[in-house]
């Protein structure tokens, strides 16, 4: 177990440096004239140019710039956005509502995906199974850019069941519609993986043993099969966080939720390079940490890993 944790930690550190390097390199490769980009379409005076060059270390070589970037990231100093605001402060102001939104989305997605997945696996080939299969197909096919505006139009504007937009202090109910939309982006794969995994496990020999022990079908499914089946699903939930982050950009933008994604979307529209890179870097770190936690959870579920 200890060995496993240490190995995963070392791996994460490596991935952290690699991933942030990728983000930085992408940005670096992408800029022809970052100052002009910063200023938009206005002409830039030499004076301003000099100040900006100084502030963003633009005259330095790639490794030196990368060094400044890493130093900033590790000390929590993300610099200033094009509009002159402190990116760190913007983030700390934005994250609570995003956290609430994504936590809600994860719970909604996992609850529905796991229960429906187990059910359709047990009744495979039945009506419920076929309709969930159809539903997952539709969910997979409808990207969040389609789902979010349409859901807003139908459920918030026309039917008025939910508020169309929210504030930073949104309650759980206010966030429910965007959270469900967000959940939809990951629910289908989670459901399918759960179903496949349960189907496979229902065929396993140990299920036969459990039945031969005279256990009720309910106990066989929810005690014996479920824990084995959850192992791949848990991993997926970690990976899906990336999908959720991407989805949050759209959902927060559509529903006007002033969270991380909302700011990021505005940054993208405003072509605010420092803001985008700063936000993305932090999100990447969060993603990696969550996946580390997921891997540890994995070990808790599967003794074969714990005792390897």
């Amino acid at each position: 177990m200890f060995r496993y944790i240490v190995r995963r930690l070392l791996q994460m550190i490596l991935t952290f440096f690699g991933a942030t390097f990728v983000v930085f390199a992408l940005m670096f490769a992408n800029q022809d004239d970052p100052i002009q980009a910063l200023a938009g379409e206005k002409p830039v005076s030499d004076n301003v140019r000099a100040v900006l060059t100084e502030r963003y270390h633009l005259d330095e070589s790639f490794p030196v710039q990368y060094w400044y970037y890493m130093k900033g990231l590790l000390t929590g100093d993300l610099g200033r956005s094009m509009a002159g605001r402190d990116i760190g402060e913007m983030l700390s102001g934005a994250w609570p509502v995003t956290l609430k939104l994504s936590a809600l989305a994860i719970v909604v997605a996992a609850l529905i995906a796991i229960t429906a997945g187990v059910w359709s696996a047990i009744r495979r080939g039945g009506f419920f199974d076929n309709s969930t299969l159809l539903m997952t197909l539709l969910l997979l096919a409808v990207p969040i850019v389609v789902l979010a505006p349409v859901a807003q139009l139908v459920f918030a504007m026309e039917l008025r069941w939910f508020p169309a937009t929210t504030t930073a202090r949104a309650g759980l109910y206010d966030l429910l519609l965007p959270a469900v939309v967000l959940a939809c982006s990951v629910m289908a794969t989670q459901l399918r993986v759960t179903r496949t995994s349960v189907v496979e496990n229902l065929r396993a020999d140990y299920v036969r043993t459990a039945r031969a022990k005279g256990l009720t079908p309910r106990r066989v499914t929810w005690v014996h099969v479920l824990r084995n089946s959850l192992i791949p699903v848990i991993t997926l939930i970690g990976v899906d966080l990336g999908m959720l982050m991407s989805g949050a950009i759209i959902v927060e933008e559509v529903f006007n939720i002033p969270g991380v994604g909302f700011n990021l979307a505005r940054g993208i529209r405003a072509e605010d390079g420092p803001l985008v890179v700063g936000f993305v870097s932090v999100l990447v770190v969060v993603f990696l940490v969550v996946n580390l936690v997921v891997d540890l959870l994995y070990a808790a579920l599967d003794p074969r890993i714990r005792y390897e």
């Binding site: 991935t15 983000v23 096919a141 850019v145 999100l283």
Partner: protein, 288 residues
Amino acid sequence: MSDTRSRSLAGDAWTDLRHNKIFWASGVLVALILLMAVVPSLFTSADPAVCTLANQNQGPSSTAWFGYDFQGCDVFARTVYGTRDSLEVGLLSTLLAGVLGLIVGMAAGWFGGVVDAVLSRLTDIMLGVPLLLAAVVFSGRLSSPFEDGVFAVTLTLGLLTWTAAARVMRSAVITAKSQDYVAAARMLGAGPARLVFRHVLPNSIASFIVVITILLGTNIAAEATLSYLGAGLGGDAISWGLQIAEARNYARIAASPLVWPSVFLAVTVLAFIMLGDAIRDAFDPKLR
């Protein structure tokens, strides 16, 4: 054993596919979409670039089946013409991702050891950056607002989405490599090229094809998402994502400019995912 015809696994899969309604439905859809991308003028005589503000937000009519949008452009024409850029980005980026994934996955799986360790870490790193986040940083629109962005978005998606294909290929190659028939060929003195192309590749390609088919769908969706955010196609490009982004603000006044590109996008993605599903079922019937 009763029939004397010889049946290969691929042959079996094909027999299976021929009887699969989902395969035919998605196949016909894909063919139709491809046709629409290649010769859009077959489907509409209207010019998508000709917009008259006088037609602003007009409802559907016999000349413009889906009505006109806020700019007074023919929604149907724009939606049909939008197929081309969407598919171009989807196909080319998937091709790029497929080639990268195939090479990386095969190399990691076949050579193992240090090569595998390095390539697997690289894959991990790429997976450590969620697709859309990396794409918004990289994609051309951040710095060059005046091009149509097809090349930039294709490159971005291609470079960022090979990981899934590589992982699948790697594990398939590792499984195939350790099979006894590979050992048997090696024992006969077969060289690495024969082992890889005659024994390992044919036995590991099926799951790769499935992943690629599904990736095609998701990359088309990713393009729309990027375009929607303003980090994808732009300039004079026509994209479903752009259409959705524009139409959203006027959705309560005119829903059709929002709905139709959405439907086309969803149907396209659906067609490719269903095709991938059907192929998977044919190659791996035990999981049905």
